[in-house]
């Protein structure tokens, strides 16, 4: 049966489950396009190049060590990538791999909740097990 509500989604970073703070995760997997068109033809041809994967994560801010502030900042301070897991349907393995945190920010608009936003760049392969 198609369709799932995102309430079951889950996200963790560096072994910390941040699901209860998060309300939006986006993952983007792109492949470089390498132009292999020879001279003298009309139609272009391509082959796939290297994959590049990034994630954007946002939700409710919390300063606790186990909250987004603590987890994202700790990950940013490390030279090596850290583990991430994003399970859109809340089941199976979802998307898993190693990533570096490329940005982290906090915003607060009057009348709304204090929010955080982080960006990850995947290092190496992404295991997909939806």
């Amino acid at each position: 049966m198609p369709g799932s509500f995102s309430k079951v989604s889950a996200f963790s970073l560096n072994g910390q489950d941040l699901s209860s703070y998060v309300n939006n995760v986006g993952i983007s997997i792109t492949t470089a396009e390498i132009d292999t068109t020879p001279i003298g033809v009309v139609d272009k041809t391509f082959i796939s190049g290297l994959n590049e994967t990034s994630l954007s994560v946002s939700g409710f801010y919390a300063s606790a060590t186990i909250g987004p502030e603590g987890v994202f900042k700790a990950a940013m301070s490390l030279a090596a990538p850290v583990a991430f897991a994003y399970r859109p349907t809340g089941q199976a393995t979802g998307y898993q791999g190693q990533a570096i945190v490329t940005s982290y920010g906090v915003s607060s608009q009057v009348g709304d909740y204090v929010a955080f936003e982080g960006e990850l760049k995947v290092s190496g392969p992404v295991t997909i097990g939806l």
């Binding site: 309430k7 989604s9 699901s19 209860s20 703070y21 998060v22 309300n23 409710f60 009348g111």
Partner: protein, 132 residues
């Protein structure tokens, strides 16, 4: 953070409102009141503000009845209650309502004339927004 415990939220709001001198507090709607009195009404709940049942958003009205419309003292009391350091400050003094929620905010206030048991009363309704 966690699922909305409406009973605990009612109790927390009740405790906060009892800090207002002279205010009678009802944590549930009642048939009759003696002003000045506050009544915690029934909530609207928006579930699933985050993944995995992390945060719910609860909007719960608190009605405060001060007295008859024509009474000068009732009007003065209403002015006190609806000021920024009145009912709003009392409710937001403990941002967790005694551990019942993650955060609380009195978002708005609207004054009106309420008819209770056939009697018109000067009143203010506060919109309390809660993150569990």
């Amino acid at each position: 953070m966690g699922q909305a415990d409406i009973g605990a939220i009612r109790a927390g709001l009740g405790d906060a409102l009892t800090t207002v001198t002279g205010l009678r507090v009802h944590t549930f709607p009642v048939d009759a009141i003696t002003p000045p009195a506050a009544v915690v009404a029934h909530p609207d709940i928006e579930f699933d503000s985050t993944y995995q049942r992390g945060i719910d958003r609860v909007v719960i009205p608190v009605h405060v009845v001060v007295g008859k419309v024509s009474e000068r003292a009732a009007n003065a009391l209403l002015d006190t209650y609806i000021s920024g350091d009145g009912i709003k400050a009392a409710i937001e003094d403990d941002q967790t309502l005694g551990g019942a929620c993650g955060d609380v905010r009195v978002a708005r206030c609207e004054t009106s004339v309420m008819t209770i048991a056939g009697q018109d009363y000067l009143a203010a309704s506060f919109e309390v927004v809660i993150l569990t």
